[in-house]
């Protein structure tokens, strides 16, 4: 179920730090207006870390169509917290959220289980679970929301999530093709052909090479599931 995208479409900032954060916010607005489909945000640099979900949420509120892929450190996050953050971002952005695991010391088996639990939580509410039944006082339907009862080697999570199913359902996981075990789980694989490593200085040169992208959802816009 992994999509392969063709041509350089995904912007990977080379110089995103706390000092360049304001300029990268401005750049994100321009990249969005120009029609770029996906930007990677956040970093796990221990000396100057930036939380990917927080940055993606801020950018989402200032943009209309660009996809925002949040860097996540798998070692410091619980699946319930991560799923809740991703679902919130996907709702707030109208289905433009994506995520990727960043950090070299991660235990691949643990990361794979993390992905599995997050996905179970993201889809623990059926798409039609919110019924808004004013007469019966029922906001959601009891039969359409389910515990996940996950018991694994690393995580034990009862669920369900306390955020309804996000617009994309399973929020797409992005992986770099040179990464290891989690690759096989990703909805989207990036490589040097699809990714543009750019600094703030390089941005001006991008105006000539805006990719043509169409599609409703982020995954469709990036090539679709194959």
């Amino acid at each position: 179920m992994t999509a392969r995208i063709v041509g350089p479409t995904v912007i990977a900032p080379k110089d995103l730090t706390s000092a360049t954060l304001p300029q990268w916010i401005e750049a994100t607005v321009r990249l969005d207006e120009a029609g770029w489909p996906l930007l990677l945000v956040g970093n796990c640099d221990p000396k100057d870390p930036l939380d990917g979900l927080a940055m993606a949420a801020f950018c989402a509120a200032r943009t209309r169509q660009i996809g925002l892929c949040a860097a996540v450190d798998p070692l410091t996050v619980e699946p319930f917290t991560l799923a809740r953050g991703l679902a919130t971002l996907d709702h707030m952005s109208g289905g433009r959220a994506a995520w990727r695991l960043v950090g070299s010391e991660a235990d691949p088996k643990r990361s794979c289980e993390l992905v599995e639990v997050v996905r179970k939580l993201l889809t623990s509410w059926a798409p039609d679970a919110l019924i808004e039944n004013v007469d019966d006082g029922m906001l959601s339907h009891a039969d359409r929301v389910h515990p996940i009862a996950h018991e694994g080697a690393y995580f034990a999570v009862e669920g369900p999530l306390n955020v309804p199913r996000p617009p994309q359902g399973r929020v797409p996981l992005v992986a770099l093709s040179n990464e290891s075990a989690v690759n096989s789980l990703a909805e989207l694989l990036l490589n040097d052909e699809t990714m543009l490593h750019v600094s703030l200085e390089d941005l001006a040169a991008l105006s000539d090479m805006t990719p043509t992208v169409t599609g409703e959802t982020l995954i469709e816009r990036l090539g679709g599931l194959q």
Partner: protein, 406 residues
């Protein structure tokens, strides 16, 4: 102009602090899951020059015996995603989000808060909670929810670690995000004296609030902190009306939003038995209640369900009585009367401000900003414009580097 500057927070919870408030909205789900709804509330609060918008944290979905509880399981978004999104569409107001020290990693929390504080230029606060709900444990790979002493012990180390991480980063816009705390137990008070810069409290009686604030300020002195480093903000649920009669009519209207199914679900959650199987016109099933899985002392003592006359009320009567009971201070009256209350409470040293918990936010927030704030300004009780760009500045709190540390 008076030297007083009453601190004001807007505690946003779903459609309001009446759990049935969503029933008044034409599009409840869309409200709760799109930015526009929260943005409009934040912008109203910013127009009123409030100090901050406040968000709680809930780490589980309501269920009863493994079955999802549709009358109570409201979507509760991640405050640390909602707050940066709201920061992008506001200019000056502060935002405080709740994050658990029991179920999150200190390093991850430090990075989240630091990033948000950079994104919004120093408008961030962190409500430090240890998470009281044992139900959360099942979602965090923990067999047993740790007891209160253990949770607070961990919280102390956690806060130290977060602050040390902040100090190791490139400088943050307001020095550090503002530390907020809400526990009022003896353990909670000891913790607050050491770490809190804002305390969100429950205070229904002015005299008791004066005593509490004195004690806390004294406790700060005892650990070597300046008492001026603490703002105490009790919660209050105002229901406003042009006249007292109008306000009371609004109160009645809000009570009708509370569906019996929602109340039954709350009662079921409280005792761990399914109350929907009883008839509303029958007396409370006291035998079943005494044997319920979650019978506790204090507020949950089954004896408290019986009236002072010793008579067992019907389930329906009990629910009607219960609908008016609120954990926090409530107010029903005119804008002038609410301004009077704020004036008296702050003048007597009962508090430094209030956290506003409107039963129905879509009505209460604009009414407060349009009708109460102008009176408070005229009396010199609140500022007419922001004097600072940071939450720390709005609250008159100094940057940590300027304060005496332990």
């Amino acid at each position: 102009m008076s030297a007083r500057n009453i601190a004001l927070g807007l505690f946003v919870l779903g459609h309001g602090h009446n759990v049935g408030s969503w029933r008044s909205s034409p599009s409840p789900a869309r409200d709760l899951l799109t930015l526009d709804y929260y943005r409009d509330l934040a912008r109203h609060a910013e127009r009123g020059r409030l100090d901050m918008v406040f968000f709680a944290e809930i780490l589980y979905s309501y269920e009863l015996a493994g079955r999802h509880e549709g009358a109570l399981a409201f979507p509760t978004l991640d405050p640390f995603v909602l707050i940066p999104a709201l920061s992008a569409v506001t200019e000056a107001i502060g935002f405080t989000g709740t994050y658990s020290t029991t179920y999150t990693d200190a390093c991850a929390t430090a990075i989240k808060l630091a990033t948000i504080d950079r994104l919004n230029g120093g408008r961030t606060g962190w409500n430090i909670v240890t998470t009281g709900a044992d139900r959360a444990a099942a979602n965090f790979s923990v067999r047993e929810h740790p007891d209160k002493e253990e949770r607070y012990l961990r919280a102390g180390d956690y806060v130290d670690k977060v602050r040390a991480l902040w100090q190791a980063l490139p400088p943050l816009p307001q020095g550090e995000p503002v530390r907020v705390q809400a526990g009022m137990s003896p353990t909670g008070k000891t913790f607050a004296a050491k770490v809190a810069e804002v305390m969100f409290t429950i205070a229904k009686e002015k005299a008791a609030a004066v005593t509490f604030r004195k004690e806390l300020r004294q406790a700060l002195s005892e650990v070597g902190r300046d008492p001026e480093e603490l703002r105490i903000m009790p919660g209050i649920a105002p229901i406003l009306g042009g006249t007292e009669q109008e306000a009371r009519a609004n109160e009645e209207r809000y009570l009708e939003l509370l569906h019996p199914n929602t109340q039954l679900a709350m009662l079921s959650d409280q005792f761990g038995i399914d109350f929907s199987r009883y008839r509303l016109e029958d007396p409370l099933p006291m035998d079943d209640i005494r044997q319920a899985p979650k019978v506790l002392s204090g507020a949950r003592d089954p004896a408290r369900l019986i009236g002072p006359d010793g008579e067992v009320p019907t389930l329906g009567d009990y629910l009607r009585r219960q609908a008016k009971v609120r954990a926090h201070n409530s107010f029903v009256g005119t804008p002038e009367q609410l301004a009077d209350l704020f004036d008296e409470w702050s003048e007597t040293g009962a508090c430094d401000g209030f956290n506003l918990m409107f039963p129905l936010q879509s009505e209460g927030v604009p009414a407060f900003v349009d009708e109460v704030v102008p009176i408070l300004r005229k009396r010199g009780l609140v500022r007419s414009d922001y004097q600072s760009t940071t939450l720390r500045g709005h609250l008159g709190l100094r940057e940590p580097k300027d304060t005496v540390t332990r």
